[in-house]
Symmetry: D2
Subunit: 144 residues, 4 copies
Amino acid sequence: MKTKPSVADDVRASFAQQRIMTLIGASLSVVEPGVVEIALPYRADLAQQHGYLHAGIVTTIADSACGYAAYTLMPAGSEVLSVEFKVNLLRPAQGATFVARAEVIKAGRTLTVVRADIFGFNSQGDRGLIATMLSTMICLRELG
Amino acid sequence: MKTKPSVADDVRASFAQQRIMTLIGASLSVVEPGVVEIALPYRADLAQQHGYLHAGIVTTIADSACGYAAYTLMPAGSEVLSVEFKVNLLRPAQGATFVARAEVIKAGRTLTVVRADIFGFNSQGDRGLIATMLSTMICLRELG
Amino acid sequence: MKTKPSVADDVRASFAQQRIMTLIGASLSVVEPGVVEIALPYRADLAQQHGYLHAGIVTTIADSACGYAAYTLMPAGSEVLSVEFKVNLLRPAQGATFVARAEVIKAGRTLTVVRADIFGFNSQGDRGLIATMLSTMICLRELG
Amino acid sequence: MKTKPSVADDVRASFAQQRIMTLIGASLSVVEPGVVEIALPYRADLAQQHGYLHAGIVTTIADSACGYAAYTLMPAGSEVLSVEFKVNLLRPAQGATFVARAEVIKAGRTLTVVRADIFGFNSQGDRGLIATMLSTMICLRELG
């Protein structure tokens, strides 16, 4: 099943307005119903003191992936906001590229719960799980 | 009570190596035993699609503040890493400036639990609580 | 400021219907606007394998304290449900008595964020912080 | 692959010492390397005010399942303690029986991250996901 084109288009249009994504160099790689992936090539200016991707940047792509995954299942005219998230950092965030893959666990009328796994890929394409997020998103409806 | 100069110096030196802090324009504003604050002026290129500071950037300054707050209470020669954090987003992240204030709740030999509140300040200096973090940090000791 | 009697009465009536509270021997000790405390004497049949109060029972009193703290600030005719909570376990749950003290951080129309600290008291009345919870509660309104 | 008998035996012996499990009527149903399930038949005296299983009791079986799942992968002579957990409550905890299924995501020397899904089963055996936990466990080693 493919998301209705309009929903995927909405996600892409919204993503394009997230100026932080341009700043860090992230891009949308998958938009399907209930599933969104965001990819981010490593850059040294996104790192913490040991040269690993900063946990906050791991969170930035994971949070947006979760928000848009929730959004793909919301009625037209909705807005999505993050209520809360928890991130467990499993391994140092090393890699040539990072991908946050978010999947909706439970879509509700008001609240949607989304899980994201964040992977690091080395230059050979080997994948390691570096962090996992469990988040709650809220649907704000158009008053119109 | 003031942190031993060497600890505050260590924190400042480590912070200076976090290149992500330079990219987003964050600075260390307070370093005391068990308490660290990081300040971040708003910039449009740090925003999500509604123009608010992205939750991942809120997390970036909160996580580093928590890590360094924990670090101020660790033995010399330690390294600190984030184990996990949870963030509740309380209000839209609006403001001219943001401050993440982290305070250690429980310092342990291996694990330290830290809470951070993240405030937005408008141009008149009025303060609003926009998010709160509850995090676990781990102390890695020098093998030396 | 005291909560309107009707709200405190509502909380007490609801608490009396939580049969789990009777099973474990918990009681409401404080009901004020935005603040609720629940007390629980230690019993060996509430313990895990080392004889400490089980983290799930710590959570049971903390979750109900958070829920009722949120409820005290909700409109008449509301119901409250837990959306999510995170608990950091800071010390072994030892004590003669335990108290979960919940305070609302942010009361919203739909969602309310509540923090709870859980203390153990020894037989001399000395208090130790054993755990802290950060939770989200949702307000369900009467359709009436 | 089956867990070494001694590990499964250790888990069963430890579980038998968790007197809270006897009080609420929970039992170990699966013990495999990195995976543990705990089952709990519904009882009205475990319920909150609406008659659903209390979130704290959902947490009680999920936390123990996570702890033992981590323990199955730890060296002989270790003890396991919960560091923290987050629970998202997805649906009212209705059912004739509940099962918490915990699976290790990342086993480390000191810290192990475990996810648990908690299901309700109705009297026909239909299963619904009612909650999910993401937890951190710590390994304490014998000083020997």
